[in-house]
C-alpha cells in the first residue's frame, strides 16, 4: 500500500517537474539593456561670501585657448553640474549666471579612471578631485571639496565655492 502511494506520488512529482522544466526552457528569452548610469557628473554650489546665500549658476567647459566648448545643464536650481575631461587631468570651467554672465573661472585638477562597465553600456570615466583652483582670485574667496569622487552617483555634492563681489 505504502509502495503504491509512493510510486503514484513520485510519478506525479516527476511529471510536474518535467513540465516546469519544459515551460522554463520555453520562456527563457533574454533581452539585456544598459541599466547603469553612464552620465557621470559632479555638482558644485556657489555662495555669496558674506551673506552665505546661494548663487544660481551653471558651468561651461573651456578649452586650452579659453574658448567655451559647451554649456552644462543643471539638474537642480542651486546645484551646478560639471563634467570632467576624460582625456586630461585638469578641467577648466566658466561659472555663469542664469543670464550667461561670467562671474568666475575655475580649474579642477583630477585623476581619471576609465571603466568598461559591461557589454550593454560600454565605457565611462570616473574621477577623483585633487584640487580646485579659482582662476580669477580677486573674486574668489574660498573653496571646499566636500566629496572627492565624481562617479555615477550624481547626488554627491562635490564642491562649494564662496565668491566675493556679488553681495
Amino acid at each position: 500500500m505504502m509502495r503504491k502511494t509512493y510510486n503514484m506520488v513520485s510519478k506525479r512529482v516527476v511529471g510536474v517537474l518535467a513540465s516546469i522544466a519544459l515551460l522554463l526552457s520555453l520562456t527563457m528569452c533574454e533581452t539585456d539593456f544598459c541599466n547603469e548610469n553612464m552620465y557621470v557628473v559632479g555638482t558644485l554650489r556657489t555662495f555669496h561670501k558674506l551673506s552665505k546665500s546661494p548663487i544660481n549658476v551653471f558651468l561651461a567647459t573651456m578649452d586650452a585657448n579659453g574658448d567655451t566648448i559647451k554649456y552644462i545643464g543643471n539638474t537642480s536650481g542651486s546645484y551646478a553640474n560639471f563634467v570632467l575631461n576624460p582625456e586630461s587631468d585638469t578641467s577648466r570651467f566658466y561659472i555663469l549666471t542664469a543670464d550667461t554672465v561670467e562671474i568666475g573661472k575655475i580649474a579642477i585638477v583630477h585623476t581619471n579612471r576609465n571603466e568598461f562597465v559591461n557589454a550593454e553600456c560600454g565605457v565611462r570615466t570616473l574621477s577623483t578631485i585633487d584640487t580646485v583652483l579659482i582662476e580669477n582670485a580677486s573674486e574668489g574667496d574660498s573653496v571646499a571639496i566636500l566629496f572627492k569622487d565624481v562617479d555615477e552617483n550624481y547626488d554627491n555634492e562635490n564642491i562649494e565655492i564662496f565668491l566675493a563681489g556679488f553681495e
Binding site: L17, A18, I69, F116, G122
Partner: protein
C-alpha cells in the same frame, strides 16, 4: 533571424522534453511489470559513479550565433541520497551585439569572452526508496560553487564625451576570474539499464567578476568589469537555465 532561431530552439526543447517525459513514464510502467534482476544489489554506502554530458549547451550553440558551450559532470552515489558532484565545461561568448547604449558604437567594436568553468557541490536525492537497487531515479536539489578563469577581448570600445568634444576608442584584453553560486532542482532517470537521462533547472546567483585594471599605453588606467562569464552568462542579474543530460552509471 533571432526570432526564427528562438523558434527552432523552442521546437528542440519541446521534442527533447517530450522524449524525456515519455521515457520516464514508459520506464516506470515497465519497472512495475518486470522485476529487474540486473538492477538488484545489497544495501551499501557507495553505489557507483555517474558520468554525464549536457546536451542542451551544444544544441543551443548550433543555433545561437557567437555562443559555444559544452560541459560534462561526474557525481558519486553515496547511500542513494547524497551525490557529491563536479562539473567542468568550456564556453565562448560573443557579446558584441549586446551593446545598446544610446550612442552608436565605433565600427570594429567587439566584445568576446571564453574560458573553462568548474562547479563543485552536492545534490540531495528525495527518491531513495530503500529497495536495494544499483541505479535509481533521482529527484534532487543541489547547490554548487562555481568559478571560471576566463579570457576577454574588447576591441574598439567607444568613449564619448560631448562636453569636451572627445571621441576615443579603447582596445583591451586580459584574464579575469569570475565566480558564482548555483542552485538546482533536477530529475534523472535510467532510460536503458545504466544509461540515464536528466533534466535540471538551475538558478545562477551572486555572479561576480574580479575587476581587472589594465595600464594603457597613454599612461591612463582602464578598469574592466567582466559582464559575461563562461558558464554564467550576463552578470546583470540572476539567471535561470535548463540542462538536459545524458550519462552512464558505473556501478
Amino acid at each position: 533571424m533571432k526570432t526564427t532561431t528562438m523558434r527552432i530552439l523552442r521546437f528542440f526543447w519541446l521534442v527533447l522534453s517530450s522524449l524525456f517525459i515519455t521515457s520516464v513514464f514508459a520506464q516506470k510502467k515497465e519497472a512495475q511489470e518486470v522485476k529487474d534482476e540486473w538492477n538488484l544489489t545489497t544495501s551499501k554506502t557507495f553505489y557507483g559513479v555517474s558520468v554525464y554530458a549536457d546536451i542542451a549547451g551544444p544544441i543551443t550553440s548550433m543555433f545561437k550565433d557567437g555562443k559555444t558551450d559544452f560541459s560534462f559532470g561526474v557525481d558519486a552515489d553515496i547511500c542513494h541520497t547524497i551525490y557529491p558532484t563536479f562539473e567542468a565545461g568550456y564556453s565562448k561568448y560573443d557579446a558584441t551585439e549586446s551593446y545598446n547604449y544610446g550612442l552608436p558604437q565605433i565600427p570594429g567594436y567587439s566584445y568576446t569572452c571564453n574560458g573553462s568553468y568548474y562547479k563543485i557541490g552536492a545534490n540531495f536525492n528525495f527518491l531513495n526508496d530503500g529497495r536495494g537497487n544499483k541505479v535509481i531515479p533521482l529527484l534532487y536539489i543541489g547547490a554548487k560553487f562555481a568559478f571560471s578563469p576566463s579570457h576577454f577581448d574588447i576591441e574598439n570600445v567607444r568613449l564619448s564625451n560631448e562636453f569636451w568634444n572627445i571621441e576615443k576608442a579603447y582596445s583591451v584584453s586580459g584574464k579575469s576570474l569570475c565566480r558564482w553560486a548555483e542552485f538546482s532542482v533536477g530529475l534523472r532517470y535510467p532510460i536503458a539499464k545504466f544509461f540515464c537521462m536528466g533534466v535540471e533547472g538551475k538558478l545562477r546567483e551572486f555572479g561576480r567578476a574580479k575587476v581587472k585594471t589594465v595600464d594603457m599605453p597613454d599612461g591612463s588606467s582602464f578598469d574592466v568589469k567582466q559582464s559575461y562569464s563562461p558558464g554564467y552568462g550576463n552578470f546583470n542579474g540572476s539567471k535561470w537555465g535548463v540542462k538536459y543530460t545524458i550519462g552512464y552509471f558505473f556501478h
